[in-house]
Symmetry: C2
Subunit: 152 residues, 2 copies
């Protein structure tokens, strides 16, 4: 059964737990890296809003504070989801982009977006629902485009 294969987490304590990990469950492990609203919003901004510089992230609607932003960017770099590089052409010096590991969160963000559009119709965008629901090919196209944009 898929459910059992995916998650033995709560039925047994598996021996191979790392000391810095609270759980060997794949979902719990993902949440240790990205299970924070701000972290996923930073990834969203990198993925869909073309943001690359510190100050740009501060301008998003959700009004992340600069302390939280700095913390989350460091966390994302440490965990290998985001690359920080020198950008001598820019006043802010550092430019951020998504690594392959960060880009691989695309299906998570798309699944969240599809869920909201179904259950919170105030954010409904019918064109997006069609695309998200029915075309693995458009997902592949988007992934390829993001790889190019991020030099991944």
């Amino acid at each position: 059964m898929l459910a059992e294969l995916l998650l033995k987490c709560n039925r047994s304590r598996i021996g191979c737990m790392r000391q810095d990990q609270r759980s060997t469950c794949p979902i719990s492990t993902a949440l240790e890296v990205v299970g924070d609203r701000w972290t996923l919003l930073v990834i969203r901004d990198l993925m869909f809003a073309g943001k690359r510089h510190f100050r740009q992230f501060l301008q998003s609607e959700e009004a992340i504070s600069s302390n939280v932003l700095a913390d989350r960017l460091n966390l994302l770099v440490e965990n290998g989801l985001v690359r920080r590089e020198d950008d001598s052409s820019h006043a802010q010096k550092a430019i951020y982009s998504l690594t392959e590991k960060g880009l691989a969160l695309l299906p998570v963000l798309i699944a969240m977006s599809a869920w909201t559009q179904k259950y919170h119709p105030e954010t409904r965008r019918p064109e997006a629902v069609d695309l998200v629901g029915h075309s693995p090919r458009s997902l592949e196209r988007l992934r390829a485009q993001l790889r190019e944009e991020h030099g991944t």
Copy 2:
């Protein structure tokens, strides 16, 4: 372009924003409901570990505290993802199950699990990767089984 359809969030401020919402972005809206590690772990327990009673959630590996658990269960009930019903046959009186809206988060949790299994091989379960990656039909089967289990 899918990316643009999905997320105009950071490019424009859309007029229809509700007062209790920080953003009209579908991803941000989803994160306002489930953008907390503990919330998604409770949903995971309901979905995959067959947990239905308060005390059972406390026993998960991640050791959620009873305060946080009570808060997240209330939040999930208020937001219509979880049903709380009387269970006179049980010492704890209340039994929890997933609504259709809660069950609809299945693709989000599966996408997270697939991501972890690829990038955190210490939690890798090869059988699950195969199933998750390649069969929409097995997802449908799982969804049908969950609906039955939760009386949804």
